[in-house]
């Protein structure tokens, strides 16, 4: 088999019901985007798992570098004033 006949890889994202985000479900192979959507429907929603599907070529996804994890995700840590639980003096006050 030559490379030209190997169907490319697609990532599949499924929205399980209205009001929810699409969530990564897995991947599959398909010759083109129309067939990728249809294959995703057959493969990942056989049990009513979805009301909407996204497919995207795997090679088109840009990802953060796991090696740079520390630099990339360090900043939000320790900034607990972004969270409601930081503000303890208002404890006991209703509707706040």
């Amino acid at each position: 088999m030559t490379d030209t006949t190997v169907w490319p890889l697609w990532e599949v994202f499924v929205r399980s019901s209205r009001g929810l985000s699409h969530v990564h479900a897995g991947s599959l192979h398909a010759p083109d985007q129309e067939m990728a959507l249809r294959n995703a429907r057959d493969l990942y929603t056989r049990r009513n798992e979805g009301v909407s599907i996204w497919v995207v070529r795997s090679e088109d996804i840009v990802a953060s570098d796991p090696g740079a994890k520390d630099q990339f995700f360090e900043s939000p840590k320790g900034k607990d004033y972004r969270h409601a639980t930081y503000y303890t003096k208002s404890e006991g006050v209703k509707h706040l």
């Binding site: 169907w7 994202f13 499924v14 399980s16 019901s17 009001g19 929810l20 985000s21 969530v23 990564h24 479900a25 897995g26 599959l28 192979h29 398909a30 010759p31 129309e34 067939m35 249809r38 294959n39 057959d42 493969l43 990942y44 056989r46 049990r47 009513n48 798992e49 979805g50 409601a84 639980t85 503000y87 208002s90 404890e91 006991g92 006050v93 209703k94 509707h95 706040l96």
Partner: protein
């Protein structure tokens, strides 16, 4: 995380993405053959039961043919696609047969496993062997466009059970039609080999198209009065123009021509079948018939 200030936040737990999941499963609500068996009236006349039997037999024989592909398709994704279509068809068959059987006090299995070949009412097109993937796709194209047009009309049937079965089925065969059209396009416009194969398949199956639209089986007085005139069923000739139009458009997009080949006489609705059906039934019925009266 306790205290009043978080109580309000907790209320958000049931909203938004907290429950987002790609594996949440539900059975979904839809009409099932089991429901038809226990609910609702039986067909109002034998002609109506006979009509439901025609619809059920077409779907059953096609499902039996398609089920062969599971584990044999060109790619595993396609095993699943053809499997879904086969399961849809089998579901329609079970619903129609269950309903038909209520008139005679028979179950879907009595009708599927214990009738003889000449008692089946399927059209010859459904009985045609799977051939290669191209033949299966061409058969799917012809059948699914026909079933789409038919079930669209039957969703308005004066018989409420037939209408309910058709209303569910039409959404499913709409997808079958799309699946067949997509593949016809890819085979027709793919490689030289695939174009040759799908062209041959379309030509080979074309003779069996005519039978689908023959009004002759409906000419019988009971059939005419109770089914066609009563608005329970449809005189199939009335679907032909739209079928021709849709098929011509799909074939044209795929670079294929509408074949100019003779029609084959079909007698499926009278129990006169192609030579293929006997083998298909022998295989389908062999185990059940070895054990009369057994339950499974």
């Amino acid at each position: 995380m306790s205290g009043h200030e978080t109580a309000d936040l907790d209320e958000f737990q049931s909203f938004g993405d907290v429950t987002a999941s790609a594996t949440r499963v539900t059975p979904g609500n839809a009409l099932r053959p089991e429901d038809i068996a226990v609910q609702g009236e039986p067909p109002s006349s034998e002609a109506v039961a006979e009509y439901a039997l025609w619809l059920g037999d077409d779907a059953l024989i096609l499902a039996q043919r398609l089920s062969w592909w599971i584990s044999r398709a060109p790619e595993i994704e396609e095993d699943i696609a053809l499997g879904n279509i086969a399961l849809d068809q089998l579901g329609h068959a079970r619903s129609f047969l269950t309903y038909a059987g209520k008139f005679w006090g028979k179950t879907e299995d009595d009708l599927a496993y214990w009738r003889e070949e000449e008692e089946f009412r399927s059209c010859h097109l459904m009985e045609q062997p799977n051939g290669d993937f191209g033949v299966t796709i061409a058969r799917q194209l012809f059948v699914s466009v026909y079933q789409y047009l038919l079930y669209t009309r039957l969703a308005e049937s004066a018989d409420s059970t037939i209408a309910a079965i058709a209303a569910k089925a039409v959404k499913e065969v709409d997808y079958h039609r799309d699946h067949a059209a997509q593949w016809t396009l890819r085979l027709g416009r793919g490689t030289e080999e695939s174009a040759a194969r799908i062209r041959r398949a379309v030509e080979d199956l074309w003779p069996y198209v005519g039978e689908l639209f023959e009004d002759q089986p409906y000419a019988d007085q009971r059939m005419h009065d109770d089914v066609v005139a009563a608005g329970v069923g449809v005189a199939p000739s009335t679907l032909r123009a739209e079928w021709d139009e849709q098929i011509a458009a799909i074939l044209a997009e795929a670079g294929l021509e509408v074949p100019q080949v003779p029609f084959a006489m079909g007698g499926g609705r009278r129990g006169e079948h192609s030579e293929h059906l006997g083998y298909l039934l022998a295989e389908m019925q062999v185990l059940a018939r070895k054990h009369p009266g057994a339950s499974w």
